[in-house]
Amino acid sequence: MTTSQSTSLDDPTAADPVVEIRNATVRFGMERGESRVLDDVSLDLERNEIFGVVGESGSGKSMLASAMLDAVVEPGILDGSITYRPEAGDPIDVLGLTTNELRTFRWEEIAMVFQGAMSSFNPVRKIDTHFVETLSAHDYDVDEGMERARGLISDLYMDPERVLDSYPHELSGGMKQRTLIALSLILEPDVLVMDEPTAALDLLMQRSIVSLIEEIKEEYDLTILFITHDLPLVADLADRIAVMYAFEFVELGPTEEILQHASHPYTRLLLKSTPNLASPIEAMRPIEGSAPDPVNVPSGCSFHLRCPLADEQCVEVDPEAYSVSDSSVSVTGSDSDSDLSPDSDATSIPNSDAGDHVANCHYWEDAPETIPMTEEWDVEGIDAIDSAPGPSRTADPLVSMEDVEVHFETEGSFLDFFSEPDTVQAVDGISLDIYENDVVVLVGESGCGKTTFGKTAVGLQEPTDGAVKYRGQDIWDLKRSGGDGTMSFDTVRRALQIVHQDPGSALNAHRRVGTSLEVPLKRWNPELDGNDRKSRIVSLLEHVGMSPAEDYIDRYPHQLSGGEQQRVALIRAMLMNPDLILADEPVSALDVSLRVEMMDLMIELQEQFDTSYLFVSHDLSNARYIAEKTGGRIGVVYLGELVEIGRPEEIIHDPQHPYTQALRWATPEPDFEGGGMGGESPIREIDVPDPTDPPSGCRYHTRCPEAREVCTREHPEPNEASAAAYHEAACFRTDDHHEYWNSPSITDGGD
């Protein structure tokens, strides 16, 4: 294990590498100087392995994907060498292929799945033409190929006829992503590169797809390079993992090694910053600082500006790959000051033995001690969630929703004037009270109605039935009657605010930050004069970490990062002095390591401004983090119904509704202790049923692993789910005397 630092291509030390990447570098000439967005990366991909590459946005991980197919977009220049070794036949020098050879090579040998499945299909052509045109472009037999396509689609748990006959927009996000996987495999490639294939999907779908990838890999004999920002997600799947930072690998090794003995400070910090269900929330810490700009990567170790272990040597000498599994340090021929010339740069040639674990850090031995994973919370650890006390929920509720329904009608087809429109029951009979200083996090899959419900709660969506009351007043009555003197619709509008998922769209692009923030202040605090307003804004900006605030005040939204825009949007909402803020997926657009920081900020502002929050999220770890820190509740929404609600203690550790249990299963966890978590998928169907035609009885019965005959007929009402306070679930299993227990199971005959 100490041998093989060989870089020679003709020396296949690996058992059976299918792709060998050597010193791959991608450069862009930019006005500010040359930028290197992939810096001398080398990698052996073993045949039939799943190799995970983890990095935050801007770490160069997508460049690596493009490089594998020699598809770096102009004007980027790719250097180095990439060798593809087919099972039979001679090795292929990918970068030496002609345009035509490359056209054949891509998709037939190495195919790729992008993150942008939503937009990877031609919107005006049906799915089947995508398959047909790919087959004919490569001179494959179309009939045979379409047979294979049908097989692939049904292997991915979809109905081939329906999918092939659809336009892309008619499929849900999860179906589009799976269809794209089928499309990538249509020419039977050996290698599949997946670049963030699940990032835009909700967790349950992510997990379902990840389990499918494992099945597909076995069945079609694939080698997979899986690129993601989500370490826990890939940890469940990959044989080996490489962590990327600043356009190069900083640590590489077998998955278990990386999880249990992460040795690079960045890997350790990344693991700690990821919201998850297992570690105590105090252990989740954001990484200070931000990732380097490609034009201006720090000298020496590129992580030294953010690294708690950094010293002189780190600034001066670029660390090479130190072998971790064996403590003998390999310092073969390291030129110091090696940053200037790429050739003399010490590089991380991974040992081709898959058992090897390397970290590019001078002090990898000290990292575990300096950056402990669980710190002193070790003992109480995992099961002892103890959330903040939370508000007393005895006084009158702030906003109360009574049996709220929102039904949308969809249009019919072309020239279809008179047929009954389909009705989407986006929200169907939810009751919920939100109190002063209360926090409720709604979780559920895309299309389950949680966003519509949230909008209804803050008066942005009128319910088709039921009532939304603000301090006892029905707000839609108030709007129609124009108010009764004590309260007007305007007051309600101000009291209920929203912070959007996409902060960019919420801010006026033509207004400077200062101006955007002044408007609400002028309106609601007319007693302040210009100077007071300015100092208020400055202090708030500084407070949320945007300093020097004077500098930020004069910027336009596009001059801010996503996180900064989100903060400005948040401050603006806060300046209205609202009683309740609806935050729709406020952190899902941010990098994993920034999420905790943003959530902390929101929680802090809540205390300062004395508001309540209604969060909408598809991510149970984020939900748990917020609810636990604020003493809030988590509400689980499925197909327009609230199926379970309770404090995080119960929802995370004692979920009663089978759907909550499925969400729990879908939430990836970094497993420091070793041993897989995973387990069988607890859902019988991957896709959410059509919301225009929800299943009878319990709406979850089509996917529920516990469903029995009675569930298809009767509709369960919310019921006390455990002895804990505020814990309710809508499932017959919470009632020990229900006829459910005598009803025959319906799951055996199913799939």
Binding site: W107, F114, S119
Partner: protein, 334 residues
């Protein structure tokens, strides 16, 4: 989310517009101070007719009876209009419908050529601009398009008239058909018609400026799209990519622009035909205006409105057929 039968609502909206226009024209004729009816009565009486005779004539001309109570008169007027009876022209002393029907084909002839050529040029130029984005051709064509887009068509019409007709004498300065040639399906006549229509059609080509800029933007967007990148990686031929991917997706949004510009061009034809003394619907209306020929004016007004409403209705209704995305959506967004 689109709600209940928007097609039905759209249709109702169109019908409402037509009804509103008919009502408005009734009101102008009947109720406005110094209204058409009063004006006509005065004119006939000035010509020495007895009030009774004048009244009779007015009734015939306007196809409404001044003595009837207003609501009955209104209902009758609407019914007559819907049946195509728009009264009789005062000046020409012919049914308005016949006059309009005779003039309309000439206008449609100029308009359809204008639209066809503008969009053809616009789409082609836009595609070229996008393909060489940032290059010399792009910069040149963009400036040309911006220039075209900002000149009003009548300014171009007058310039063309001055140069191509008066100065250089290449094209006739007015008229719609050659003189001294028998109307019919013969080469000389058809050539004469095209010859006379050239300058009006050229003036309307300013529309191609807007179209080409629109096309340029669409194409650039499509060229940068994810699906194009995936299509390239899948090894599709350049031909498939340019026709099935770029062209289709870039031209689609032009469809609505096209139908909307039909409406605009109809409006523009009044001035255009006046400038070129081209005897089409526009000139007819212009003259009716000068001669205070109310029945003709109102008839033309109603006709143009209905034409525009129908064009827009077709645009809306067929868009979902041209672009599958305009139909239903999936439910991920709730």
């Amino acid at each position: 989310m689109v709600t209940i039968g928007w097609r039905l609502r759209r249709l109702a909206q169109a019908l409402f517009t037509v009804w509103a226009v008919i009502t408005l024209s009734f009101a102008m004729i009947r109720l406005m101070p110094g209204n058409a009816m009063g004006a006509m009565m005065v004119r006939f009486e000035q010509q020495g007719m007895s009030p009774a005779r004048a009244r009779e004539l007015v009734e015939l001309r306007l196809s409404l009876d001044p003595d009837k109570p207003i609501h009955t008169a209104y209902v009758e007027y609407v019914l007559n209009t819907l049946q195509g009876d728009l009264g009789t022209s005062v000046f020409h002393n012919e049914p308005v419908v016949d006059l309009l029907a005779a003039a309309l084909p000439w206008t449609l002839f100029v308009l359809s050529w204008s639209i066809f050529i503008s969009f053809f040029i616009g789409i082609a130029a836009g595609a070229l601009m996008a393909y060489w984005e940032g290059g010399k051709l792009d910069v040149g064509l963009t400036s040309w398009a911006v220039l075209m887009g900002s000149i009003p068509f009548y300014v171009l019409a007058i310039l063309l008239l001055i140069f191509a007709s008066y100065r250089w004498g290449i094209f006739p300065s007015g008229g719609r058909q050659p003189t001294g040639v028998e109307a019919g399906f013969n080469i000389t006549y058809i050539r004469g018609i095209l010859y006379h229509a050239t300058l009006p059609v050229l003036s309307m080509l300013v529309a191609s400026g807007v179209a080409s800029l629109g096309m340029r933007g669409n194409s650039i967007r499509v060229l940068g799209s994810d699906y194009l990148r995936v299509a390239r990686l899948r090894g599709l031929s350049d031909y498939t990519i340019s026709t099935q991917y770029v062209a289709r997706n870039a031209v689609l949004p032009m469809y609505t622009t096209l139908l909307i510009s039909i409406g605009e061009m109809f409006g523009g034809s009044i001035v255009l035909e006046y400038v070129f003394n081209y005897r089409g619907l526009g000139l007819l209306l212009y003259e009716a205006f000068n001669q205070r020929d109310y029945p003709l004016m109102m008839g033309g007004f109603v006709l143009i409105t209905i034409a525009v409403v129908i064009a827009l209705l077709i645009a809306d209704m067929t868009y979902s057929w041209v672009d599958p995305r305009a139909g239903g959506q999936n439910s991920d967004s709730y």
